[in-house]
């Protein structure tokens, strides 16, 4: 656990479950005069997958970057596990490194090559170690990015619209892959997404960011493995879409 006090410390650590891997208290961030995050409190339990919804520009990426330690100008108290990994919307592979070297970036210890190969195999890219990123399709590149995160055996996975740039079919496959990996590795995850169905499918809890604070905390109790047409999703979907300000159907007017 690495406690990262950023800026003014708000010492009021609320009583949380002892197994929480993420604890953020009073996170604030402003760009110029405009506050984007206005006191966000967030806890994520070990192994819990939390989806973060919010309209465009509501500060989801900003919050994720604070948790990832990429934002030095945020205020608040943030505790995240030392073993965290990030998957961005774009794959962000280094084009001058082969797939295996990209996955192994910053990985130390014994048998790095073996661990890299195992991670690639898990995302269905066994044997592509020697390929250049430019030789991969968008979905394959994104799977390499997932492998790059997995090989670190993260306690926490931070995902910023990881499948947002993919075509619909590939996205479905990636969601299935995520469910499988999650069942296997039991990492906690914060999943930023625009896709309400994706949130329902993958998350244990859905948070809604609006006006710089988390305004809604919706537990999703449907048992895994889920499908998007599971009974009980209908009302949840309508509720989340209404919270996002989107009428869920013609009768919603």
């Amino acid at each position: 656990m690495a406690t990262r006090p950023t800026g003014d410390l708000t010492g009021a650590a609320t009583a949380v479950t002892p197994v929480a891997v993420v604890r953020a208290v009073g996170v604030r961030r402003a760009f110029g005069p405009v506050p984007v995050l206005n006191g966000v409190d967030l806890t994520i339990a070990a192994g819990e997958v939390v989806a973060l919804l919010g309209s465009s520009g509501s500060g989801k990426s900003t919050l994720l970057r604070v948790l990832a330690g990429l934002d030095g100008d945020a205020c608040g108290e943030v505790t995240v596990p030392a073993r965290s990994a990030v998957v961005f919307q774009e794959h962000r592979l280094l084009p001058w490194k082969r797939v295996a070297d990209n996955v192994a970036l910053g990985v130390a210890g014994r048998d790095v090559a073996g661990r890299v190969a195992a991670a690639l195999a898990e995302v269905g890219l066994a044997g592509r170690e020697r390929a250049w990123p430019a030789e991969l399709s968008g979905g394959q590149s994104q799977r390499v990015a997932v492998a790059r995160a997995l090989v670190r055996q993260p306690e926490l996975l931070l995902l910023d619209e990881p499948f947002g740039a993919l075509d619909a079919l590939t996205r479905l496959r990636m969601q299935a892959l995520f469910q499988r990996l999650r069942a296997e590795h039991r990492f906690a995850a914060l999943l930023v997404t625009h896709d309400v169905d994706e949130a329902l499918l993958l998350a244990d809890r859905v948070l809604l960011l609006d006006g710089g604070v988390l305004v809604e905390d919706v537990p999703i109790t449907v048992a895994h493995p889920r499908t998007t047409d599971a009974p009980g999703f209908g009302p949840l979907r309508r509720r989340l879409l209404a919270l996002l300000g989107v009428p869920a159907g013609p009768d919603a007017q």
Partner: protein, 285 residues
């Protein structure tokens, strides 16, 4: 996670509406690259042959333009008695030292200005101003400062090499995708490791452009400085030959300069192809 890409395209042509000869695209194999490479040699060879014929026929006086065979002959003679080798070695030494000094300083200054805000503020303005000055215009001043010795020639080559290296290092570092640096940070890379794994390889394509321009500017500086004043060197050999009206030696000097330029370009190309192998995939598509 395997994608089955079968069935889909088949449905396009329904059985009944078998389209007859839909604009037959001629799929003719393009002439192989090997054929083209040979074909590109034809016109230079024809030109040299024409030059030889014109000279042999006496249409041009050998004092003005000797035949290629005569140039080759004098080249062979000077190579055998060691004169050409000595001149060449001296010219190459100047080029290498000048490029190393100018390129090294340019690389260092460009990296400092590209990486550090303080370095940018301190280094970039004077360099941007100085670069407006054609560096060969500094020759009279350099003559006053340094005299006519080796340091003059090396300084001029170094000056020619400095600016392209500096500018391209700076631009190469500035153009690196900040998101890649960020991703490297999330992978736990320290600042030094990010420099090695992200910044350096990311700036390398621009660096090669700078190197190519530096070679060109360096050669130019060398030619000019060697012809101004020298005791040894290809340029000196040419100027001396001019005094004795040995036009064949003058032309030989030009040929040597051309070959040196060609060789350095080839060297750079090979190095580039090796160092930037990762770009192959990008080009193929």
């Amino acid at each position: 996670m395997t994608v089955t890409e079968d069935a889909a395209p088949r449905t396009g042509t329904a059985a009944g509406a078998a389209p007859k000869a839909v604009a037959t695209v001629p799929v003719r194999a393009r002439r192989g690259p090997r054929v083209r490479r040979w074909r590109r040699l034809v016109s230079p060879v024809v030109l040299v042959l024409a030059w030889e014929l014109v000279s042999r026929a006496g249409l041009v006086s050998p004092d003005k333009l000797p035949a290629p065979s005569d140039v080759l002959a004098v080249g062979w003679r000077l190579a055998r008695d060691g004169a050409l080798g000595a001149h060449l070695a001296q010219s190459l030494t100047r080029a290498v030292i000048g490029l190393a000094v100018g390129g090294g300083v340019g690389l260092l200054a460009g990296a400092v200005a590209g990486l550090l805000r303080l370095g940018d503020d301190l280094i970039d303005p004077p360099v941007q101003m100085a670069r407006m000055l054609p560096h060969l215009g500094l020759l009279p001043l350099l003559l006053i400062w340094l005299g006519i010795g080796e340091s003059l020639k090396i300084s001029l080559v170094a000056l020619g090499a400095f600016f392209p290296i500096y500018l391209n290092t700076y631009a190469g570092i500035r153009d690196i995708d900040e998101r890649l640096v960020e991703a490297a940070r999330t992978c736990g890379l320290s600042a030094a490791a990010r420099l090695r794994h992200v910044v350096l390889p990311g700036a390398l394509p621009a660096l090669f452009i700078g190197l190519r321009l530096a070679f060109a500017a360096g050669w130019l500086s060398l030619v000019v400085s060697e012809q101004v004043n020298a005791q040894v060197g290809i340029g000196f050999m040419m100027m001396e030959a001019r005094e004795f009206s040995q036009t064949d030696v003058v032309v030989l000097g030009l040929v040597v300069y051309a070959l040196l330029g060609l060789a350095s370009d080839l060297l750079l190309r090979v190095a580039e192809r090796r160092a930037l192998a990762w770009r192959r995939g990008l080009r193929a598509t």
